[in-house]
C-alpha cells in the first residue's frame, strides 16, 4: 500500500487557484523533492497533506486512510506524519527535552523514562546531547532545526514532510541540517522535501517533482529533471533562465527605452558592461538592418534576450515580419559602407541562424 495517495487535489484562496489538480502516489521508502519557483503551490501542497489547509476538491489518502473524508480522526493520522518547518516552530516555552518528549508521552502513552531515553538517542545522532536542557531561544537556527527534526522523529512517523527546511537558515548552518536529512535518507525513511537546494535535491531524492502553475509540471528521476528537462518551464527553472523582451511596432520607436531596458536587465543579473554593450549594439544594428531591408510599412519586431545564470550565456532571439532577409547572408570580404551594421553584427554574433517562415524572419544568435 502506498504511504500517500493524492488524486485531483485542488486548493484556492479566494479567486486565486493555487493547486489545480495534483495527482501523486508515494510508495514506502521514496524520497521526493519538490522544486519550483516561489508561489507555485509547493508549500500549500504540503500543508494540504497535513490538512492544515482544507482542499477544495480531491482526495488524500495517508497510509490507506482518507483524510479528506468526513468525520475522520485527523489528530490520530497526523501522529504518523512528521512535519519540519521553515521556521522550526519549536515550543519556545519548553526546553529541548520537553519539546521532544511531550508528544510521545501525552499522545503515544510512552513513559517519561522511555521518552527521555529515546530523545537522548536521537539527540546523540544529531550531535546535540549537550543541549538537552537548553531553551530554543538560546540555540542557533541550525541547532533548532536539528531538534525540530528529532521532535518529529520521536513519533515514529511513516513519512516526514520538510517544508523548505533550510530556507530560514544562515548559509553557514545549511550544511548541518542537510547532513541530518541525508542521514535519514540512508535509513530509507519516506520523505517529501520542498527545497531550493538543487544539489541536495539531486543527491538525496529518488524522484523530483517540478511544480509550476499549481500542478506537477514535470517529474522524473533527478537525472531526468536536472540533466535533461523536457518542458519549457522546467528548462527555464533548472538553467535559471532570465528573460528580457521588447516589442517594436513603428519605425520611430523609442530606442532609448529599449537600451535602458537592456541596461536594467543586465545590471540586475550582474552582466559585465562589455556584454551589456554588445547586446545593445547587436540589437540596435539588427533593428535598423531589418527596417531598411525586410520591413514594409507595418513594423512588427520582437526581441527576446535570454540569460542563463547557470551557463552564464546570453541568447538573443529576433523575429521580424516582412520580406525574407538575412543580414549576414552577404559576402563580407570587403568592408561595406552600406552594410556597416551587418558587419558589426557578424563580428559579435556566435551560433548565428536565420529562418524564414510564414512571413516572419527568425534570427537567433548567442553573445560571448
Amino acid at each position: 500500500m502506498s504511504v500517500i495517495e493524492v488524486s485531483g487535489l485542488k486548493k484556492s484562496f479566494g479567486a486565486f487557484e493555487v493547486l489545480r489538480g495534483i495527482d501523486l502516489t508515494v510508495e514506502e521508502g521514496e524520497r521526493i523533492a519538490i522544486i519550483g519557483g516561489s508561489g507555485c503551490g509547493k508549500s500549500v501542497f504540503l500543508r494540504c497533506l497535513e490538512l492544515l489547509e482544507k482542499p477544495n476538491a480531491g482526495k488524500i489518502f495517508i497510509d490507506g486512510q482518507e483524510i479528506t473524508a468526513q468525520g475522520v480522526d485527523i489528530d490520530k493520522i497526523r501522529r504518523s506524519m512528521g512535519m519540519v518547518w521553515q521556521k522550526f516552530n519549536l515550543f519556545t516555552h519548553m526546553n529541548v527535552m520537553e519539546n521532544l518528549t511531550v508528544a510521545p508521552i501525552k499522545l503515544l502513552g510512552m513513559t517519561k523514562d522511555d521518552a527521555r531515553e529515546k530523545a537522548m538517542a536521537l539527540l546523540a545522532q544529531v550531535g546535540l546531547t549537550a543541549k538537552a536542557d537548553a531553551y530554543p531561544e538560546f540555540l542557533s537556527g541550525g541547532q533548532q532545526q536539528r531538534i525540530a527534526i528529532c521532535r518529529s522523529l520521536m513519533m515514529n512517523p511513516k513519512v516526514i514532510l520538510f517544508d523548505e527546511p533550510t530556507s530560514a537558515l544562515d548559509p553557514t548552518m545549511v550544511g548541518e541540517v542537510l547532513a541530518v536529512i541525508r542521514m535519514l535518507a540512508k535509513q530509507n525513511l519516506t520523505m517529501i522535501i520542498v527545497t531550493h537546494e538543487m544539489n541536495f535535491a539531486r543527491e538525496v531524492a529518488t524522484r523530483i517533482l517540478f511544480f509550476a502553475d499549481g500542478e506537477i509540471y514535470e517529474q522524473g528521476t533527478p537525472a531526468e529533471i536536472f540533466d535533461a528537462p523536457k518542458r519549457n518551464k522546467t528548462v527555464a527553472f533548472i538553467h535559471k533562465l532570465k528573460y528580457f523582451n521588447y516589442e517594436i511596432s513603428e519605425r520611430h520607436f523609442d530606442l532609448m527605452e529599449m537600451q535602458g531596458g537592456i541596461q536594467t536587465f543586465a545590471e540586475k543579473y550582474g552582466l559585465s558592461a562589455r556584454r551589456t554593450n554588445r547586446i545593445q549594439l547587436s540589437c540596435e544594428e539588427l533593428i535598423y538592418e531589418m527596417f531598411d531591408n525586410a520591413c514594409a510599412d507595418e513594423i512588427k519586431i520582437e526581441i527576446d534576450v535570454t540569460y542563463s545564470e547557470v551557463d552564464n550565456s546570453v541568447e538573443v532571439e529576433f523575429t521580424c515580419a516582412g520580406k525574407s532577409y538575412n543580414p549576414l547572408e552577404k559576402d563580407f570580404d570587403e568592408l561595406d559602407e552600406e552594410h556597416l551594421g551587418a558587419t558589426i553584427l557578424k563580428s559579435l554574433a556566435q551560433n548565428y541562424s536565420h529562418e524564414y517562415d510564414g512571413g516572419t524572419n527568425r534570427i537567433k544568435f548567442t553573445l560571448a
Binding site: 519549536l90 508528544a103 499522545l107
Partner: protein
C-alpha cells in the same frame, strides 16, 4: 519629637489606625473581587471578540470601545445613581460591578493583543504532531499567552487599585475616603494625604512583588 507626636495623632490616636485599616480593607475587597470577575468576564469577552460569530463579535467590540473610551467614574455614577438607584443595592456591590466591567474591557483587549503576538506556527507544529485543537491550546497557546500578557496585566491590576479611589463618590468609605476624612478632622492634609499615598504605593509594589515572584526563572 513634635513630628512623631503629630504622626501618632493623625494615624494612631483614637483608633485612627483601625479606621484607616477598614478603609484599606474596602479598597482591597473591591479591587480583588473586580479583578477576579473582570478577568473572567474579560476572557469571555475576548473569546467573543476574536470569535467567528458576528453578533457576539460586534457586541464585544462595541462594549470594549465604550468602556475603554469613557471614564470609569462616569460608569460608576451611571450605575449607582441611574441603573441601580431604586434597588437599594449595597454600594460596595455597585462598585464591584463597575470595576469588573471596566477591568473586563481592558483584559479583553490585552488578551487580544497577546493572542495576535502569539506565534501561530507553534500551534500548527503541535497540531501536526497529533495534538487536538484543545490540547494544542493548553500546551502552547495558554502558557505563551500568559507569558506575553503578564507585564500588561500587572499594570492593569495596579491601575485598577488606583482607580478604585473614586468610589468615595458613591458613599463608600474606602482608603482614599478615610484619608480625606482624617485630613479634615486633624487639619493636617499634607502629612495625612502623603501617608495615604505611601499606603497605595505599598500596595502597588506588593502587586509588582507578587508578579515578580511568580515569574519563574528560566534556565540558560
Amino acid at each position: 519629637m513634635d513630628f512623631l507626636d503629630l504622626l501618632y495623632k493623625i494615624f494612631v490616636k483614637d483608633d485612627s489606625w483601625l479606621t484607616i485599616l477598614n478603609g484599606l480593607w474596602v479598597t482591597v475587597q473591591i479591587s480583588a473581587l473586580s479583578l477576579l470577575f473582570g478577568t473572567l468576564f474579560g476572557s469571555l469577552l475576548c473569546f467573543f471578540r476574536v470569535g467567528k460569530f458576528p453578533p457576539l463579535k460586534i457586541a464585544a467590540q462595541v462594549y470594549i470601545s465604550i468602556i475603554r473610551g469613557s471614564p470609569v467614574l462616569m460608569l460608576l455614577m451611571l450605575l449607582f445613581y441611574g441603573v441601580f438607584a431604586r434597588t437599594g443595592i449595597n454600594p460596595l456591590l455597585v462598585a464591584v460591578i463597575t470595576f469588573s466591567m471596566h477591568t473586563a474591557a481592558h483584559v479583553a483587549e490585552l488578551l487580544r493583543s497577546a493572542l495576535m503576538a502569539l506565534d501561530k506556527g507553534q500551534v500548527e507544529a503541535a497540531r501536526t504532531l497529533g495534538f487536538s485543537k484543545f490540547q494544542a491550546f493548553k500546551l502552547v497557546t495558554l502558557p505563551q499567552l500568559v507569558r506575553i500578557a503578564k507585564p500588561v496585566y500587572q499594570s492593569t491590576v495596579v491601575n485598577l487599585i488606583q482607580w478604585t479611589s473614586v468610589v468615595g463618590y458613591v458613599t463608600i468609605t474606602d482608603l482614599t475616603r478615610v484619608i480625606n476624612n482624617t485630613a479634615s478632622r486633624t487639619m493636617q492634609p499634607m502629612i495625612t494625604i502623603m501617608g495615604g499615598m505611601v499606603i497605595y504605593l505599598a500596595i502597588s509594589y506588593l502587586v509588582y512583588g507578587i508578579f515578580h515572584w511568580t515569574e519563574r526563572r528560566r534556565a540558560q
